[in-house]
Symmetry: C2
Subunit: 365 residues, 2 copies
């Protein structure tokens, strides 16, 4: 962290006092100035994450504009300063001030981080964020990241992610056996329990692997991002349920010493801007997923819903995964209990509100 | 608008230049200061609107903190400066700087304002906001309010509202005939076409009227707000579908001259803070509706979904209402066409994403 203190309010106050006809400001504000570095797990040019409305480019620009340049966050993409998945440690140690990624990238080291990223069979956008802002979720996030000297906020959300692209239809649990599926993270453990041959491939390798039949299926994000990879040209069937990532959060994690050095106006600027980016990025995703999905269908993609017995099998498999993790890790258990308790109450309301809207009011097709 | 210009950057710049060892700020920012008045259609003490997380109290405090007091918006409740429904004209004429209400309160004068407030049989939270931020919705809002010298942004959202409290079950369209139902606005016109005896009562009169049987049913907001009025003590059946208000937006409308006088940092502060309030207020509503709904059920409320033929009848009635309005008002028609075109594409995505989440992943009860 570079901290440049070049104009304290005291100096300005003295200047103002010298001009007798000028009123004193109502609220005293520090004029300290801060230059931060943000690293991310995302390459340049990716809408939603790296560029465009609600992205990290937008968020850092809002903060700069709002603060009149007093909090100037330089935005680096994956690999420009540190490799994609090393930003967390870099922000934690204070090598730089902020890391942005999805919390589940760190779930190998911090299993509970899964709940701040995407929760298989968890809540969707409204529930996840209600838990964050009003159900103790952000407080738990801070508690879990306390040993890593990081303070994190949600700053974006993809919404429901797609199950992915499949070269053949999935009609039963049998069809999963031996299926070579690209999918990372916790959800991969659930698939593996059902006999799926789970493959880990970075984004850039998915299209050629799927097209050439090195893999049979691939999960990525959702229509807007999948279109950028051209996945609709490599497989015909586009499956949904979003069981693996019913809503996926972008994390903005700030080194604690850098955070604590900010005066109240800049802290509020960061908190407010992250909440605004969460709204703007998520709705970008909704608007652009809708557009891309319509284009896929017009171009011949076959949309499918995973059969109920497959979803049921995955649920049972994931229940086992959660149980294992909770029994080995009290922090995971604590966060899971908060999340599930909130979910239980919120699900009942979601059933009466958005659930009925989807069942009765939305156009059926 | 009071505009207090007491410390221009020129003054500070001169002081800084005098101290040769101090670097110049990277971005020049005006130190103009502004004192605004906000009036609202809401009484004091109402969570979501007047007080608590994401409310107008929170929003104005964020803006004050972020701007170091340079944009200080004094928050007045309904009737404190002007009556509840006269704030729009007051902000329009420049008597004060901001009015907050729900746009449909002005739909008598500006029918197209309905689309910025709540749209019977329209989109729910994610679609409405995707249209606002990425489908041209906010731009259309500004266009519609141009003749009124107002610039408006969404700053809160109740989510799906409940159909309301009924003393008797509704099993068919027949049961609507002669039913004395409290409901304001466009939705009331739809009910009236089906023989409902539509009543207009202010919030404070709903409970006694419903309890004493002066009315048979009443629409208000949703569980968290309905609980404050004690409506569960006055009627047994709590109906849903939210057809009349599938998502209801809080409007933050700024006098255009006041808006244009703001420097870029304060404009960005307002835009970003409104988007953040939209997120925080909506999720407050989700969290607290969930809690209150669970309490209602535990205390004996019977939750019901409007029967399909009733929803179908209301849809047909509302189609007629929309057609009439569109044929009489080219602005209404223009906004409706933008809204429905966006909705058509978004509904297909919603069906594949959140719709499947609700049907297959959420706990069934």
């Amino acid at each position: 962290m570079q901290r440049r203190s070049f104009l304290k309010r005291g100096v300005v106050g003295a200047a103002a006092a010298g001009a007798a006809s000028i009123a004193a400001p109502a609220v005293v504000r520090s004029d300290d100035s801060f230059k931060w570095k943000l690293t991310t797990a995302f390459p340049p040019g990716v809408p939603f994450y790296s560029t465009g409305p609600g992205s990290l480019a937008d968020l850092t620009q809002w903060i700069k504009t709002i603060s009149g340049g007093r909090l100037d966050i330089q935005h680096f993409h994956a690999g420009e300063l540190v490799p994609a998945f090393e930003g967390f440690d870099a922000a934690s140690s204070g090598t730089l001030e902020v890391n942005a990624w999805v919390s589940y990238f760190g779930a190998g080291k911090i299993p509970a981080a899964q709940f701040f990223g995407a929760v298989p069979f968890g809540m969707s956008f409204q529930g996840q964020n209600a838990w964050f802002y009003h159900g103790g979720g952000i407080e738990l996030w801070h508690e879990v990241y306390e040993p890593y000297d990081l303070v994190a906020f949600p700053c974006g959300n993809t919404g429901v992610q797609m199950t992915g692209w499949f070269k053949k239809e999935i009609n039963s649990l049998e069809d999963l056996k031996g299926l070579r599926l690209r999918i990372p993270g916790l959800a991969g453990k659930g698939y593996a329990k059902l006999g799926v041959d789970v493959k880990l491939l970075p984004g850039g390798e998915i299209f050629p692997a799927l097209e050439r039949g090195v893999i049979d299926a691939a999960e990525w994000v959702g229509p807007a991002q999948d279109k950028r990879l051209g996945l609709n040209k490599a497989a015909k069937y586009y499956y949904t349920t979003g069981w693996h990532e019913p809503t996926t959060v972008t994390e903005f994690a700030i080194n604690k010493q850098a955070w604590q050095a900010l005066p109240p106006d800049l802290k509020q600027t960061v908190v407010t801007s992250c909440a605004a980016a969460n709204m703007v990025a998520h709705t970008w995703s909704e608007a652009n997923n809708a557009q891309a999905f319509e284009e896929f269908i017009n171009e011949g993609t076959e949309a499918r819903v995973l059969p109920d017995d497959v979803v049921g099998g995955l649920k049972t498999a994931m229940d086992g995964v959660y149980e294992e993790l909770a029994s080995n890790d009290p922090t995971f258990k604590k966060v899971m209990e908060s999340y599930l308790s909130f979910k239980k109450t919120h699900d009942k309301w979601a059933r009466m509100s958005e659930g009925v809207w989807h069942a009765k009011l939305r156009n059926p097709a």
